[in-house]
Symmetry: C2
Subunit: 375 residues, 2 copies
């Protein structure tokens, strides 16, 4: 029989997930936006259901018959939706990038006998999975993950378009980054340590600290770990300028007789300016570096990713790279190749024999290629 | 008998004017700010009067006994205050930098038999006077005036402090610049044509178009005239970025349920960031270049200005350079060395025999030196 997948959220990533799974599974996409569902159904052989996912009862109802649930809702909804799905006893793979700690749901998932894989995208996601693979095989001394989604057309002043929610981008620009140095968690200011890095098909980019290690801070014991985000050079300087001049201030000021938080105005303006237009071509670039020791021999393994917008389907590279990491893991769960009661971040998937290789191969078939090299 | 001067406005420039004139004249300073007047009276032998200068009746009363009035009020009050003073039949020298066209008051001044000199600072001011001098002596082909007031301490991101009202600075950054090219008035966008220029005691600065020609657009016939403002390199790029990203937009946006003009928030933030602290040392740098032909011989004359904050008195360089240009002309008017019924911008002072030399000498005695050179 065909297995049933309930896909929660039919946004950019949800659409790519539906497109990837609809030929092998019975996919039901659920979203509050009936028009988005209609567009999806016109294009792919899936079922759709309009429902308000802020309502836990609605979530319970739509997942009732699913063999697997995929969560791809907006970040602010992610945690509670995941909680509802786990509580309903459903296996779930989640790519809603939410701020809360997913491991808080581990107990519940264990009690319900549920396999829940979270943060299942690129970063977080593939970086975690790759590190998880290597911590089982090497004494890993350092892990560095740098990822960025950028437009091909560079337009001043920002030379940036947000392939996902600009609000989440601003969140990345303001939240301090928790990294690990010499075995200790260190908190770096947002936008700190800008460095220029070369990428083969892109040229020089600028990497800065972001708070992307998340679960890795708790799940692995690696003495040096950092996560950085990539932008065209100069972008971060402008953002720092805005921040330093007070434009990210959340405390309201008196402005012409009103109380206004500068951050709200800035967000409004940047959202307009950073909107990726329909059909605007973007790419994803990333580099994951693992250094360590194996039987006294130093090893340094690098994974390079460069993926571009798909003109044929109009699916963005951000959606491709994120969705296919998620669908690869979804298949592993459905095929019982990854089974683990509880909440598993991708590092737990990576450390299980055969999983990383299967995911990388699955991605390669979709032309999302992580090129591995070793010095 | 000692001549009586009524000084309208006891701000930064007014204070320097009072200090410069109080030993030779009977000075009465008028301002709405009683505390500012008190501080001034404690330091200098002058009279003071607290009065609301937005009230024309009050202006009439306080100028009644004056032999000369000096206008140094905030820009938004400048034009109507000047009109009241002229209408009261009083000679006046004005340094209130106002947006309106002072020549609109020329008729009134002529009818009242009043000598009114306006825009009597540095730029506008000394540039006009120097050009007025040379148009009488050369066939002037081009005039360029570049001036800036800058802090010695350069603090990122803006490396700028506003020695006068930050609102007027933002006005300079947003108003298109009217220049003259090949005999035609051309309108340049605000912040356009940035160029790097070297200054001996300062280093490299960046000049950009500003709308400072004002009366010169009507009063002289010179085929090429431009006025630029000087900043540390990079400043203008940041301001352009803010503008291009919409932060100078005056149309309100919906922001968290309120209607907010981004400009108002930006102004609020920059005002804080650009505030010159008490005692913070700044300087004024300027270059005025006149090129033309005299009896078939090409001439190119340059005036360079570099003036610094006065530690002894705490008077800023902006106030020194502005106030002493004004007081120099005030003396010429009181001594009947400059007499002209009507509204005279400084170019009319410059073209009158002996006036420029007297003003430059007066400034030199106060250590504000315009160094003249000719290639």
């Amino acid at each position: 029989v065909t297995r049933r997948i309930t896909l929660l959220g039919a946004g950019l990533v949800g659409k790519a997930i539906a497109a990837d799974l609809c030929s092998d599974f019975d996919v039901t996409a659920v979203d509050a936006d009936a028009a988005a569902l209609e567009r999806l159904r016109a294009r792919y052989p899936i079922k759709t259901l309009a429902a308000d996912l802020t309502d836990a009862g609605a979530v319970r109802r739509v997942v009732r018959d699913a063999d697997l649930v995929i969560g791809a809702v907006p970040g602010f909804l992610g945690f509670r939706t995941l909680e509802t799905v786990i509580d309903a006893g459903k296996n779930v793979v989640d790519i809603s990038f939410f701020a809360e700690d997913a491991l808080l749901l581990d107990e519940l998932a264990k009690r319900r006998g549920v396999t829940a894989v979270v943060d299942c995208g690129v970063a977080p996601g593939m970086g975690n999975m790759i590190l998880g693979y290597w911590v089982e095989r090497l004494r890993v001394a350092s892990f560095a993950c740098m990822v960025g989604g950028l437009p091909f057309v560079r337009t001043k002043p920002f030379e940036y378009k947000a392939p996902f929610s600009p609000a989440d981008v601003l969140e990345e620009y303001t939240r301090p980054a928790r990294h690990v140095e010499n075995g200790c968690v260190v908190v770096k200011p947002a936008l700190s340590d800008p460095e220029l890095v070369e990428f083969e098909k892109v040229g020089t980019l600028e990497a800065f600290n972001t708070d992307g290690l998340r679960t890795l801070l708790k799940t692995v014991c690696v003495p040096n770990m950092k996560e950085k985000t990539l932008r065209y050079p100069g972008h971060i300087g402008l953002i720092r300028t805005l921040r330093d001049a007070g434009f990210f201030q959340k405390t309201p000021l008196d402005v012409s007789g009103q109380r206004v938080a500068p951050f709200d105005v800035t967000a409004r303006l940047l959202f307009d300016s950073w909107k990726l237009r329909e059909g605007e071509e973007e790419f994803t670039v990333g580099r994951i570096t693992i250094a360590g020791e194996e039987n006294g021999r130093a090893r340094r393994i690098t994974y390079n990713l460069f993926d571009v917008y798909d003109r044929a389907t109009g699916i963005t590279s951000m959606a491709r790279t994120t969705a296919y990491a998620c669908t690869a893991v979804a298949r592993l769960v459905l095929e019982n190749r990854f089974v683990r009661n509880g909440v598993s971040p991708p590092e737990y998937v990576g450390r299980q024999e055969g999983c990383l290789a299967a995911v990388l191969e699955y991605l390669r078939q979709r032309n999302v290629v992580y090129e591995v090299s070793e010095e």
